[in-house]
Amino acid sequence: MATYRFTVDGKSVSVDAQPDMPLLYALRDDLALKNPHFGCGLAQCGACTVQLNGEPVRSCVMPVSAAAGKKVTTLAGLGTPEKPHPLQVAYVAEGVPQCGYCINGWIMTAAAVLEKNPKATDAQMRDALAGLKCRCGTHTAILRAIKRAQSSMV
């Protein structure tokens, strides 16, 4: 057991854990956050995605020790109803999610892409989002929402 300090959505936190415990369990179990979600525990789906210093990572396989001293951003920290991220506005406008459980992966990854390349083409975006899962089949709505967000960011 060791103590790990990092920030989550701008707040300093500390977690006592074994170094190999995935970050996801620190966020959900120790810090009682409602997202991200456990989807596979194998970095195959993206439901657990958070940003670590701005880069999307799969928190279900990233050891908590790797987050020490870094900035973790979750979906709830990306934007709020009062101060939303353009992707969140677009998601609401398009009514994208069905079950909604996959949402962290898509939004946190797309947000990181748009940060670097706001004009990413449809093909570039599909490449960047490869490997993320959505079981309800909202992919076309997701791509529409990303386009809508891009046009609002111009």
Binding site: F38, T80, P97, Q98, G100, G137
Partner: protein, 730 residues
């Protein structure tokens, strides 16, 4: 009002609390939650807003919004004044939960009647105050002698008004009322777009899923599923998890679980625990021989729901051209986005279960039976889960959590690991379809036969109300009681001699099998129509006709013809280039036709279904915006099942355990466009939309594949591996 406030207040009138006593001056006392009380369906709050208590479930397709629109319409309110309360057995009657796309057709039909009756009763009560005639605008009532409001008339109090219940429970539950619902021509709220209510909290992460329910003193649990079907526990080595903080084993007969105060410790304990099992050797046939096995298997039950003329004679008649083909469909998994989760707590002899199951009332019944509690001592509360497309692993998680809460005396949260949602959920049944037809010298189809043979779609029931249908019940020795049922194509092809039938075969293993079968979205719909709508295409080609013209020639139902014409026109069928395909199907009075254009990469075997057109007729449209996204989800999930999904297994167990071994559609393979044409028929009662489209997708894609390559894919999925093999054989 946000969702949290809404949930806080939702129990207000019907459950227990805190309607101020002065509000209860008129006829105090809470009526029982029974279908023949109007108060079981509709409540007017002190502020004049209305709550509708719904006994079916929305699973993220906006059904609750449609219900709100319908109730608002009948009560002369804005849709924003109606909250739909669903999923809590303490506040709603058992209308069957999410089931068979009957949310609007059956579920909202009842609420429509209840709302119309509430409006009638309120009108009568208003007339005593303000005279007649009364008119209502957004809950404000005006008469010749003045004004009043719903809030003033009954806000915060009960109607104490009886309606006539048909004594049915589940999907057929209905009521009769003196009030006459509005005619569609009068509709102001129904038929208009209205936004979903569950989108914002999901997008901002401001509220929780069932996975986020936390109770004081809660333990985390992981269930140890056996390595093979029908295993018996020989021994459990509790010492193998000794070093893990607070972890312990709970075992009852062949059910084994670990619990720990911290979730990661429960996960570690589940990995570390050593269990010795008694194996059943090689219960499954080699996977490569699955469909051959089905062909040769004993028939348990056969039905011929459509039998017209003398098919055998027409098939045997000399001079007719015989066309025949067989089509194969694999086992498929729900593979919901996350493995199922449930939380259970037992306090003073009463059990509360938080579940993502789409049928919480049946969770209540199943838990009561498992724990041997009276039904009224169990409350099941639905909280949005990680996806639900039928009888997935959610029912098992709820039963497991309830048992573990009893065994430990503490609140218990169970969540599966990935394999529990992919390898151990109930499966959609594998099957083989045999089709034969005869075409006479004039090119007319004179005989048509389509027989499906496969595993029953209800090896375990479509809900979790009986322990026999859960893994924990079976592990504790309750024998399963499979129901034998399959299905036939739903269409109106007017062939003179016609036989549609099905045959079911025994399960490989009846007891605790990862290949047990049950309902997966549009149960046996994609499976059957993959065969039947490809065969129609094969007949069109054999008769030398265009697939659209051929269908129009034989379909006898005008609504069926209309969707084909609409989709052909919208897609520009006649002038689409190569790689186009069409399929059509009905589903309980909803008609759908789908055109797709595909691109096939012969080297990689990749099929890209690039452009879709859908024409959809589900009678009266309640909310066109939400209907469109529901149809889109059907298309893409159907495409995933068509192109990628196949449960793999070896002689001993299911080997599809995660997303690598059970691939689904990736965003790279998402269509470029999905064009939806909605045919609104206000004069026809609304039918379902949650499932009908998905059954058209497999054959539409396979027909387009044939158009692109000249090769028939009579086996699903059209995965790169199978496509390459088929192209190399051709």
């Amino acid at each position: 009002m946000d969702r949290r406030e809404f949930l806080k207040t939702s129990g207000g009138l019907v459950v227990s609390f805190a309607v101020p006593t002065e509000m209860l001056a008129q006829g105090a006392g809470k009526p029982s939650l029974v279908p023949n009380e109007l108060d079981s369906w509709i409540a007017v709050l002190p502020n004049g807003t209305v709550q509708a208590f719904f006994g079916k479930m929305d699973m993220g397709q906006g059904l609750d919004v449609a219900v709100a629109q319908i109730v608002a319409e009948e009560m002369d309110l804005g849709a924003d004044k109606v909250q739909v309360v669903m999923g809590d057995t303490a506040t709603s009657c058992n209308q069957g939960g999410a089931s068979g796309s009957t949310g609007v057709s059956n579920g909202a039909r009842l609420l429509r009647r209840a709302a119309a009756e509430a409006r009638r009763v309120l009108g009568e009560r208003a007339a005593e105050k303000v005279g007649t005639p009364v008119s209502v605008d957004d809950g404000m009532v005006t008469g010749p002698n003045g004004k009043t409001s719903y809030a003033e008339l009954v806000g915060g109090r009960y109607f104490h008004h009886q309606v006539e219940w048909n004594k049915q429970v589940g999907n057929p539950m209905d009521i009769k009322v003196p009030a006459k619902p509005k005619a569609p021509a009068e509709y102001k709220v129904v038929g208009k777009p209205a936004p979903r209510r569950d989108v914002a909290w999901k997008v901002y992460g401001t509220d929780g899923f069932v996975t986020d329910v936390r109770r004081k003193g809660m333990l985390h649990a992981r269930v140890i599923r056996p390595p093979r079907a029908a295993c018996k526990v020989k021994s459990v080595d509790a010492g193998s998890i000794k070093g893990i903080r607070g972890a312990r084993v709970i075992r009852e007969k062949d059910f084994v679980a670990v619990v720990a105060p911290k979730e990661w410790d429960a996960v570690r304990a589940a990995r570390a625990l050593r269990v010795e099992w008694d194996f059943l050797e090689a219960p499954f046939p080699p996977m490569a021989e699955l469909h051959q096995y089905i062909r040769g298997a004993q028939v348990v039950k056969r039905e011929e729901p459509v039998k017209k003329g003398d098919v055998a004679a027409a098939l045997a008649a000399p001079g007719n051209k015989l066309v025949q083909a067989e089509y194969e469909w694999p086992f498929q998994s729900h593979a919901s986005m996350g493995p199922a989760c449930a939380v259970a707590e037992i306090d003073k002899g009463s059990c509360t279960v938080w579940t993502g199951s789409q049928k919480p009332h049946f969770v209540r019944d199943g838990v009561a039976r498992l724990l041997d509690l009276p039904m009224d001592k169990v409350r099941a509360i639905w909280v949005a889960g990680p996806g639900s497309y039928g009888r997935n692993d959610a029912g098992d998680a709820a039963m497991d959590a309830a048992f573990l809460a009893k065994a430990t005396g503490k609140p218990v949260r169970v969540q599966g690991m990935r394999a529990d949602g992919t390898a151990w959920d109930p499966k959609g049944p594998a099957c083989v379809h045999r089709a034969r037809a005869a075409i006479d010298g004039s090119g007319k189809v004179v005989a048509y036969e389509f027989i499906s043979k496969g595993f029953s779609r209800q090896h375990i029931a479509t809900n979790e109300s009986q322990p026999a249908d859960s893994l924990i019940g079976q592990a504790m020795g309750v024998p399963p009681k499979p129901n034998q049922i399959f299905g036939t194509p739903e269409e109106s092809y007017g062939f003179d001699n016609k036989l549609l039938g099905w045959e079911t075969i025994p399960q490989f293993v009846e007891h605790c099998s990862p290949l047990r079968t049950s309902h997966l979205r549009d149960p046996v719909g994609p499976e059957i129509h993959f065969g039947s709508e490809q065969f129609i295409d094969e007949l069109a080609h054999a008769a030398g006709e265009d697939p659209v013209a051929f269908r129009l020639k034989y379909l006898t139902n005008p609504r069926h013809q209309a969707v084909i014409k609409a989709v052909a026109e919208k897609s520009g069928w006649a002038n689409l280039g190569r790689g186009k395909g069409i399929a059509f199907a009905d589903r309980n009075h909803t008609a759908v036709a789908v055109v797709v254009q595909v691109e096939v990469d012969r080297t990689s075997g990749r099929v890209w279904a690039r452009r879709f057109w859908v024409a959809h007729d589900c009678g009266l449209i309640i909310n066109p915006e939400i209907l469109r996204t529901t149809i889109e989800g059907n298309v893409v999930q159907g495409l995933s099942r068509t192109l990628f999904e196949e449960v793999k297994f070896d002689r001993d167990s299911v080997t599809s355990v995660d997303w690598a071994s059970y691939p689904i559609l990736d965003v790279a393979d998402a269509p470029e466009s999905i064009d939806v044409t909605l045919i609104d028929r206000p004069e026809i009662a609304p039918s379902g939309a949650g499932e009908p489209t998905i059954r058209c997708i497999p054959a539409a894609v396979a027909n387009a594949f044939f158009d692109a390559t000249g090769v028939r894919m009579r086996r699903a999925p059209l995965s790169p591996e199978y496509v390459k093999a088929a192209l190399s054989r051709a």
